[in-house]
């Protein structure tokens, strides 16, 4: 399967609390009316301009064996490598919310609307993440429909640039997936344009293959350790 999906924007609108927390306002503190108004305005612009689109392509473990090493700069041991080798199904993916919203963010900073610009940047980043999540859901539904996913299974996404998979891994991923077909280009620094884009691998398999500790050497540099929440979520599903 290789398919392009246009995802309805109303499915990828971030929640107001997520946006507020991303501004550094801690849970338990109620934002003032002005901040809430800015968040609503950012959501409204996002809803008008974002065009969430994704591309997904199934591939075999053998095919991914060729892609994963990238340019030879991955960490010597990574969770991605450990997991994909024990997986049942794999799919490369890329998502974007397209360029117009990125331009709008820059415009806000140019005209001095810094607070709205930052708020819109947050909404766009979270919206892109939700687009990737929506694509993961689509893939999961597909696997369920062909009887390759049930309650014993889990699904997880990884991207080059994280968890020991070097960002230069984008090069081979792009060569195989061709996200250009949905308007995503890769520059010489392996940076995607539009900036609000995500690419990577979706891994599906038995729940137990997703168990790992965040004790890899590169985990020390990770600010979020969000993998732990994601693994926990799989085990609870």
């Amino acid at each position: 399967m290789r398919k392009i999906f246009n995802i309805p924007v109303n499915k990828v609108i971030p929640g107001i609390n997520t946006i507020i927390r991303a501004q550094g306002i801690p849970a338990g503190i109620n934002p003032d009316e002005r901040t809430l108004k800015l968040a609503q305005e950012a959501i409204s612009i996002f809803t008008k301009l974002a065009k969430p689109t994704g591309i997904i392509m199934e591939l075999s473990k053998e095919d991914f064996n060729e892609i994963y090493p990238g340019e030879g700069q991955n960490a010597s041991s990574t969770p991605v490598e450990q997991i994909y080798k024990k997986s049942n199904d794999l799919a490369l993916y890329a998502v974007t919310i397209e360029e117009e919203i990125c331009e709008k963010i820059s415009d806000q900073f140019s005209i001095g609307e810094y607070a709205l610009g930052l708020m819109l940047d947050t909404v766009a980043s979270e919206g892109t993440e939700l687009t990737a999540q929506a694509l993961e859901e689509i893939y999961k539904e597909h696997l369920i429909n062909i009887n390759r996913f049930n309650g014993d299974y889990g699904i997880l996404r990884f991207s080059p640039g994280y968890c020991g998979w070097h960002i230069s891994g984008q090069k081979k991923l792009f060569k195989s997936l061709h996200p250009e077909d949905i308007g995503i280009e890769l520059n010489s620094s392996f940076l995607m344009q539009p900036l609000k884009s995500i690419s990577g691998i979706i891994i599906s398999g038995k729940k137990e293959i997703f168990k790992f500790d965040d004790s890899f050497p590169f985990c020390a540099d990770c600010a979020t350790h969000s993998c732990m929440e994601r693994i926990e979520k799989i085990q609870k599903q």
Partner: protein, 212 residues
Amino acid sequence: MDIIKEISKNLESGNTGEVVKLTEKAISDHIDVKIILNEGLIGGMSIVGERFKNHEIFLPDVLLAAKAMNAAMDILKPLLIKGDVPGLGKVVIGTVQGDLHDIGKNLVAILLKGAGFEVIDLGKDVAPEKFLDVAESENAEVVGMSALLTTTMPVMKTVIERAKARGFFGKKKFIIGGAPLSADYAREIGADAYCYDGMNAVDTVKQLLKVG
């Protein structure tokens, strides 16, 4: 309440319209532009900075105050130039070549301006020589570089090496910031400081230039 205090108070609240109106009134009342700048605007932004550090206000409030500050500065700037009023210092800032992430860099530029520094924002994807050419031609005291990718952070080292080759390393201060960076990396490449966020960048530049 005197007009300078009113400017400061309205700036703290991010009331751009009021700050602009009061600044215009202060000028027409022949109040010294240095007092409007230092006590009204920079004074107001200092309080904003302190309240932010104490978690009494948050980033959107700081950015609304910065918008008010910059709008007032547009009115004051011609008078400051005419009166030969020296600024706190000049900073050239940009996102390094190959990198297009500019939100963090924008925030640092906004906060430095708000603190009273003159900021020349070179934008994103900035070539090493451009940082140095502009720093030299504008006689800037500080060069600020931002990167968000491990593949683009080595450009910072190139800038510093070329500054050494051009003979102005040590004469200008080099600061760096961005998610993959650290104080260790700053030391490794010979930068003067690593800044972990916008407010820290303001404090760092003040310390490096011994101002404020």
